[in-house]
Amino acid sequence: MLSFLLRRLLHAGPTLLGVSLVAFMLIRLVPGDPVLLMLGERGGSPEAVAQLRHNLGLDQPLYMQYWHFIANAATGDFGNSVVSNRPVWEEFTDRFPATLELSLVALLWAVLLGVPIGVIAALKRRRWMDYVLMSVSLVGYSMPIFWWGLMLILLFSVSLGWTPVSGRISAAFDLEPWSGFYLLDTWVRGLGWAGFWAAVNHMILPALVLGTIPFAAIARMTRSSLLEVMREDYVRTAKAKGLSFFQIVFVHALRNALIPVVTVIGLMLGMLLTGAVLTETLFSWPGVGRWMVASVLARDYPVLQSGVLLLSVLIVAMNVLVDLLYTWLNPRLRGNV
């Protein structure tokens, strides 16, 4: 197991180096002088331009710039935002809990609903129940979520007035973050039910939108995986032994059917953490996705360069974890590692 982990980590190293090179080069491919572009809207004297160029290290040769970028990143220094002048790492850690909380809640409902629906569809295969459930998940899977979010806002916020449309909590609550998870912090800071409810209320629609595609993917995956497992020999053996249908499905088949589903869930989380761009933009959710889009629009190149790298580290780490989980869950693979 340990050697497997080491091998995966060794493999991840060059990938992350490649990612850092791509992030580095992308920013430098921008036509025109990035310093002038960055100062564009803010203006600047020649001295200010020279100063910024020097601060960003852009007056050095490319290979030196790249070396500084990765050497500093390795020590946890990801540069400063041009817009806020704060360290990129601080800006990232400020926003990351918001994204993590939203992603976890989205994934939670996606799993809690997706797995049972997949199981029911598989057990009712080729019956109307299967068709209805699979149609629902196909629609969910095909959903342009930015439009789905607009429709939900139109219904729940505009027409019914049930939920707020933006932010994480009402302005009336002055919440000093503790963990950055508002569902938790409202309790820690003693805002009680009212505060907690406000946080939940702000969370419902974004989490519903963000979890839609994972829900659909999990339901489809669970169904096809369970159907495949039900044809395996050991299931036939279990049937021949005269076990009850319930025992066959829930004790023997489902456990194995869920192995690929678990890996999909793990990969989904990696995607959600970084891919909440649309949902966060739509609901003004102060997370990393919205931060990256804002940095693109503001041409905040240090943030883009380091932000892309940080998010990629997350994805790669998530993939390694999923691999480990997969081998741990699947005893047949343990011998090979």
Binding site: V139, S142, P144, F146, L154, G275, V277, G289, M292, V293
Partner: protein, 281 residues
Amino acid sequence: MKKSPWARLCENRGAVVSLVLLSVWVLLAILAPLLPLNPPAQIFDGEQLKLPMWNEGGSSRFPMGTDDLGRDLLSRLIYGAQISLGFGFLNVVASVLIGGTLGLTAGYFGGWWDRLVLRMVDILMALPSLLLAIVVVAVLGPSLWNALWAVTLVALPGFIRITRASVLAEREKEYVQASRAFGAGALRQMFKTILPNCMAPLIVQASLGFSDGILNMAALGFLGLGAQPPTPEWGAMLADSKAYMETASWLVYWPGLCILSVVLAFNLLGDGLRDAFDPKL
């Protein structure tokens, strides 16, 4: 007798529905200039935010109403199909050509080239996909064509991996050995001998790639990084009408439904194709 994949596809209700739906969209897109429609970019002064004709105050002159600038919504939706399907098609063609070639050569030659291609795939997959597209568009500048390159770049890893995996499965089979014995060169072996046997997963991937590409292009349009005004692209139309959501909800319903219907159709078709090629489930 074994049925052909096409025959199996025609027995799949979902696939047939999707084929019909897609044919309608393709016909609408191609015939748009011949239909009696107002020009999609023409602004009718004094006709801003007209309701659809089935509402009170609507007129048959603008069957689905007009947007905030006074442009015909029906016409913009139909011309929007040209953009979504057209660029979705270009995205798939580019992905198949580039991703397919990379996957085919990587799987066939192996060695350092295979490792290089796989490393590129790893790097691309480690980058957050929509974010990568956004950064690429930010670098190239927001436009429909740049959005196409960005979305294609994001789609490549899937195509490379699928092609490579099926080439690896075929490469050592006897018919490939036989063609080598008959003196077939590398090019002939790759494209004439191996590739035709790798088509099934590639076709499925192409159908699913269509829906991913259309969704991603629309998302970029929605973020203002794809099609620029006055291009009638569905995602961009949604972004434009967001501000009028409460008063002119019809402007928000229809572009989204158009995107959903096309994406849904391609996903259904992809599912149907997979079952048709691989009928074990």
